[in-house]
Amino acid sequence: MFNLPSPLETAMLIEEVGGHFNESMLNPVVDAGQYSVKEKQAMNLGVYGADLGYCLIYNQSQKAFTLLATTKKLGTELGISPALYKGLINRFEGNMENKDSLLIFVSELNRLSDEYLKENESEDLIAMIFYGGWVESPYFVSELSKSLDNAKLRARVGEQKNTLENLIGLVTQQNVDGRFDDILASLNDLKASFAKVNATYSYFEPETKPDQKLTIIKSKSSVELDDALMEEISNKITPLRNSIITTSAS
């Protein structure tokens, strides 16, 4: 099984390093009906989910609410129970000024959607949701890196090396009939670029504090990628992301 980090984690990092909110990076809100194929709906549910988290991090709750409505349309098209959204939207409306609560609601919605789709044996759609959500995070970081040279942001791109492999594993599991061949070809092309990332890792003994039910992991890692490699990765991420968000009306 493969875990992919929540897009919220990268959105938090972007805010932490001083990146300003940039609405132009978001997938424009369109009529969800323009994504007519299930796989495309799922990919864009992932994209909008990442965008929604990004808006919340920057206290753009009104914008986030609009995106939530779009994710509801896409989610229900995919068979996710409207009841799941109804309760959340009510809670969202009642807590528009409370960023922490909104983040909890949205991350909980994502988990419940994941659970719902798994119970309904729609793991192929889950893979596409994660594909869309994953692409959005390095897209944000690479766009921001054009105007903000920050070591943590650069490292976050390099740290996607293993996450990309997990994503490829997840999509490959669902590619039983070859319908994700094109996506896998693009991801493997991206993987070839990530293979150039110089990653180091040194194990250090962790420290466990039983009274706090806590283990501090002290191992050290680093990733290095130069400007040329950043640009190479960015030049592959952007068209990938654009191909996801393109509508049938485009």
């Binding site: 099984m1 493969f2 875990n3 992919l4 980090p5 929540s6 919220l8 984690e9 938090m12 990092l13 932490e16 989910g49 983040l103 909890i104 991350s107 909980e108 994502n110 988990r111 959607s113 994941d114 659970e115 798994k118 119970e119 044996e121 793991e123 889950i126 490292a155 976050r156 740290e159 293993n162 996450t163 997990n166 594993g169 599991q173 669902q174 039983v176 890792y201 194990y203 962790p206 466990t208 039983p210 706090q212 039910k213 806590l214 283990t215 501090i216 992991i217 002290k218 191992s219 050290k220 890692s221 680093s222 990733v223």
Partner: protein, 136 residues
């Protein structure tokens, strides 16, 4: 020798075990308390007593993660272990009475492998659920 299975969603469907692995994550979810945000994923698998489920994850530096593992309706039925990518053992919950959740404070980003199996005392088979939350 134990069977190592890579839990995959397909395996659940293809072996027709869906109906036997439909427990809700509520038992586990109680451990992802308010200060943690869910990673948005719900990991589950039907395990036999000699099977080990495994999943790969990346944990980012500067973040604290909470891992919760459950099987059945009571805490303490699931054993889980965390290894780094070189298979150095970082943590195992059966050192702590099968603690149903544990926090991991990450100083530097690392890739981990998480293994889960039923406590033999808990029965010959069961549905394992794992959840992950994070905070910065």
């Amino acid at each position: 020798m134990r069977n190592l299975i890579l839990i995959c969603f397909l395996s659940l469907a293809s072996f027709g075990v869906k109906a036997q692995c439909e427990i809700k994550a509520d038992v586990c979810q109680n451990h992802i308390t308010g200060e943690y945000l869910s990673d948005g994923q719900h990991y589950r698998a039907l395990l036999l007593s000699d099977q080990v489920a495994e999943f790969n994850a990346t944990l980012y530096g500067g973040t604290t993660y909470r891992l919760a593992g459950c099987s059945g309706t009571q805490d303490g039925n699931l054993q889980f272990r965390v290894f780094d990518s070189e298979r150095n053992l970082i943590f195992k919950n059966n050192d702590f009475q099968n603690a149903p959740h544990w926090d991991f404070q990450i100083e530097s980003t690392l890739d981990v492998i998480i293994e889960a199996e039923l406590d033999p005392i808990a029965g010959a088979s069961g549905c394992a659920v794992m959840l992950m939350g994070f905070r910065r």
